[in-house]
């Protein structure tokens, strides 16, 4: 039994991503969408924390939202994977429930 968490706010504006990571269980997945994709960047004040959580939780960003913001996938933190809309659907079907962190 596992959960897909979605986060749609920048971690520099709200606590949503950090709170999500603090409640996620090993084997869960976190998909960063919309302004949430800023949480997947390398070289930020939060990168170390995110990479650490990534040891237990799978981390994804929605590539179209990343591209829309002019961010190259090469700037993602280690362990953060880009997925398309089809990958989003796959993640929803793979997990038992989806929890949105607004």
């Amino acid at each position: 039994m596992s959960t897909l968490h979605t986060v749609n706010k920048s971690p520099f504006a709200t606590q949503a991503l950090v709170s999500c990571l603090n409640h996620a269980k090993p084997g869960d997945a976190v998909l960063m969408i919309e302004d949430g994709v800023y949480g997947g960047l390398g070289g930020t004040g939060l990168t170390d924390i995110i990479v650490e959580f990534g040891k237990n939780v799978s981390l994804y960003v929605l590539s179209p939202d990343l591209a829309a913001r002019g961010i190259d996938a090469g700037r993602l933190a280690p362990g953060v994977e880009g997925v398309g809309y089809d990958g989003f659907v796959d993640l929803v079907t793979k997990h038992d429930r989806t929890q949105a962190w607004l």
């Binding site: 959960t3 962190w101 607004l102």
Partner: protein, 135 residues
């Protein structure tokens, strides 16, 4: 009954700055009519929704905090509140309104619906839900 699902309503916003908290309560009251297993979770700024003594007279908005006390009448028996979120905001259980329900398995004794739990326990509550609705 296998068709009863566990619904968890997750509340992470303070009450009056946005419409999330009021909308959540409205949806809970609607959902409660469908006889599902309903629980509410309050964490992060969501814990501010349950503080005692709210007075909205001068901001022109409805004070909906008394409505939480009616949840027991809708057979909503579980309001989980995260202890760490309270402590980070300088609050304790004593600062929260009282919500009770009548336990049909215990001669309809009134029991507190608010249960202060740890962050780890909150993770468990979330992982046990069939459906999570976020506000």
């Amino acid at each position: 009954m296998s068709d009863v699902k566990k619904f968890l309503y997750v509340n992470r916003k303070a009450p009056y700055g946005t419409i999330y908290a009021l909308e959540s309560l409205e949806v809970v009251l609607i959902g409660a009519a469908f006889e599902q297993d309903v629980a509410l979770a309050f964490l992060d700024d969501g814990v501010f929704q349950l503080t005692k003594g709210q007075n909205t007279e001068e901001i022109g908005m409805k004070n909906f905090s008394p409505t939480f006390r009616a949840l027991g009448d809708y057979d909503v028996q579980k309001l989980y509140v995260e202890r760490e979120s309270l402590e980070e905001r300088g609050l304790s259980e004593d600062d929260l309104i009282e919500v009770v329900y009548e336990d049909e398995d215990d001669d309809w004794a009134e029991k507190p619906a608010i249960r202060v739990i740890s962050r780890a326990e909150m993770s468990d509550v979330m992982a046990e839900a069939d459906v999570i609705l976020s506000f």
